[in-house]
């Protein structure tokens, strides 16, 4: 059976034009999707049943047993951490926030190690952004700053920016200019009209130099700024200022480089300066397919986008204190529920070590690095394949993912609701 307009639950592009062929409970062919989408749909490495650590090995347990033990672990903990959420749908995220409130837990999503600093900068100076549709139909200058879309968001350039014909940009790649800024040559820089190679950690200075040029202070610019020649900076600034509509996309290379959220603040302020000359927007390249959704859901329920601490009975947010890396590094948390993410692969070693010491439960369809730190793993349906729910694209557009077939696994929502019910009964 061929299913059209399938939504890809891999990266923040959330492409919704895939054609997927299904036989029974197996995906047999994927059309229009990139390599990452193909692997996501065709991959067949799911865990069969919940597993629990037994001595040196693992034993299979029933869903009810795994769920009851998870609830017991969370109820027993003084400072539980509920981490992840970016790889599941909004409805499940919502139950997660309510569970955190009931437990007095810290709840955090993967933004904490990716675009958290972007959110902090946006909280300071706002977000002059737009949807990807606007970029597709209008942008004649596209800047990728410290992002490599070809590897991380393969269809971003062909679906929304450089190569895609738009309503006002009839002959896409001939009319659009692409500027790539990075510390090294990448696949994306291969297709750039202008590649700006910045010294590692030099983004802030380069952004400041561009701001000065856009403000008309060319005389102040030294011969070279962090490895970028003055002539190239003038060229880039002129290209941006002469655009009819420009769009900056920035990646984790900017948020996690030296300067962190100050880099993003500077980039947003550069966008603001450019808007004195033309129309310019800036948007983060969000990684997980629904990381934007986790920020949305957290914000509409608690008021804060990530790193929310309910220990005081009210929502408290202080990045650097309530962020999961800090909570784990200080050894504060005494139980952890990981949902739809892989901190074992992405967190600092000290945090992973602490996760291995405390009872950690993972809810995820696949075996990953966190499995090896966990006490229990509960496999669930993969959203977008055998479960459906709402996700937010990287530009904040909500898109409902589709269920392609009914499988044998419960989805995140069912498992979390069961845990929530047990906790609510116990806490009265």
């Amino acid at each position: 059976m061929k299913i059209e307009d399938v939504v890809c639950p891999f990266c923040g592009c959330l492409c919704d034009d895939l054609v997927v062929e299904v036989e029974g409970t197996k995906v047999v062919n994927v059309e229009n999707g990139c390599t990452l989408a193909n692997e996501k749909f065709m991959g067949d490495h799911r865990l069969n049943a919940p597993i629990r650590r037994a001595g040196e090995g693992w034993e299979e347990v029933s869903y009810n047993e795994a769920i009851e033990e998870t609830a017991a672990i969370l109820l027993d903990a003084d400072r539980p951490l509920l981490y992840g959420w970016s790889g599941t749908f909004g409805e499940a995220q919502s139950v997660g926030v309510h569970l955190a409130e009931l437990l007095g837990a810290v709840i955090d999503n993967t933004s904490t190690v990716c675009h958290g600093p972007s959110i902090m900068a946006i909280q300071e100076v706002g977000h002059p952004g737009c949807t990807l549709g606007q970029v597709k139909n209008r942008a004649d200058v596209v800047v990728y700053w410290a992002a490599n879309p070809i590897e991380a968001h393969p269809r971003h350039m062909s679906r929304y920016t450089t190569f895609c014909d738009g309503f006002f940009v009839k002959s896409a790649f001939r009319e659009r200019k692409v500027i790539v800024v990075d510390v090294r040559e990448t696949d994306s820089s291969q297709v750039a009209d202008e590649f700006v190679k910045v010294n590692p950690g030099g983004d802030y200075a380069v952004l400041s130099a561009l701001r000065a040029i856009v403000r008309g202070k060319r005389d102040l610019i030294p011969l070279s700024v962090e490895g970028v020649s003055r002539e190239q900076l003038f060229r880039v600034a002129d290209l941006c200022m002469s655009a009819k509509f420009g769009a900056i996309f920035f990646g984790v290379g900017l948020t996690m480089a030296q300067g962190k959220y100050k880099n993003i603040r500077n980039a947003i302020e550069l966008t603001e300066e450019l808007n004195r000359h033309t129309k310019f927007t800036i948007s983060p390249m969000r990684g997980h397919w629904n990381v934007y959704g986790s920020n949305e859901v957290f914000t509409w329920i608690t008021g804060y986008p990530y790193a929310v601490d309910f220990a005081r009975g009210i929502a408290f947010y202080n990045p650097g204190e309530t962020t999961s890396v800090d909570v784990l590094r200080r050894g504060e948390c005494d139980a952890c529920l990981v949902v739809a993410s892989d901190p074992g692969a992405h967190f600092p070693r000290a945090c992973a070590e602490h996760l291995a010491h405390i009872p950690t439960v993972q809810i995820d369809p696949h075996v990953n690095a966190t499995t090896h730190l966990s006490r229990i793993q509960i496999p669930v349906a993969v959203t977008g394949i055998d479960a459906e729910g709402t996700a937010y694209r990287m530009d904040g557009v909500p898109i409902r993912t589709r269920r392609l077939f009914f499988g044998n696994y419960p989805d995140d929502l069912e498992v979390l609701e069961k845990i929530y019910r047990i906790v609510r009964e116990a806490r009265g």
Partner: protein
């Protein structure tokens, strides 16, 4: 030394030699019609098929540029080897050089083109830049050029199973847009050029 000077003077100051040197009658400096010079524009309309670029064996000798009057081939004299393949290849007679076109007509010959697209499946990320940028795809399926959704299998290229797949290589015009815009250097377009002796009615 003085002897040598005398010898030279005897040799070059002969009246007969000086007369011949100054009043020599040479052939007029005109290029004969059979001489194959650098290609020139005939003024006919270029339709941007790029066959001239594809036929040219000398790197950088010809390109087709967009001018306010439309597309025009541009010959780079220092690179051109005057082989005349571009003149033979052009379907619209935009270029001329000597009697190439006449001799093609009398000899009943023509150039036959075909192209081969190789995709390195290990390098391809399935980003779809090639399929979306492809001008042939653009004419076949507007949805493809507006975001990479393939709505027909008549396309030249499309992304299937996470990789770029060549569906109808016979539709390729050899423009190499896909090759130039592949960020992974996964696509190579090769030109297969054959000189054929065609039946009279084909010309």
């Amino acid at each position: 030394m003085p002897l040598s000077l005398v010898y030279y003077a005897k040799e070059f100051l002969r009246g007969e030699w000086a007369r011949k040197f100054l009043a020599a009658k040479t052939a007029p400096l005109e290029i004969p019609p059979y001489f194959r010079n650098y290609p020139e524009l005939t003024g006919k309309t270029c339709t941007h098929h790029l066959f001239c670029m594809m036929a040219c064996p000398a790197p950088g000798a010809i390109d087709v540029i967009s001018t306010p009057e439309g597309w025009k081939p541009r010959i780079h004299i220092g690179h051109c080897i005057r082989c005349g393949l571009c003149v033979e290849a052009c379907p619209n007679g935009v270029l001329s050089s000597g009697r190439i076109l006449e001799s093609m007509f009398y000899d009943n010959t023509r150039l036959s083109f075909s192209f081969r697209i190789d995709v390195d499946q290990t390098k391809c990320m399935g980003c779809g830049n090639c399929a979306v940028a492809c001008p042939v795809n653009k004419l076949i399926d507007a949805q493809m050029s507006h975001g990479g959704r393939a709505s027909t299998d008549d396309l030249l290229l499309k992304v299937s199973e996470g990789k770029c797949k060549v569906l109808h290589v016979e539709k390729c015009t050899g423009c190499k847009t896909c090759e130039h815009h592949c960020p992974n250097e996964a696509i190579r377009v090769a030109r297969l050029l054959e000189a054929v002796h065609a039946p009279e009615e084909d010309i």
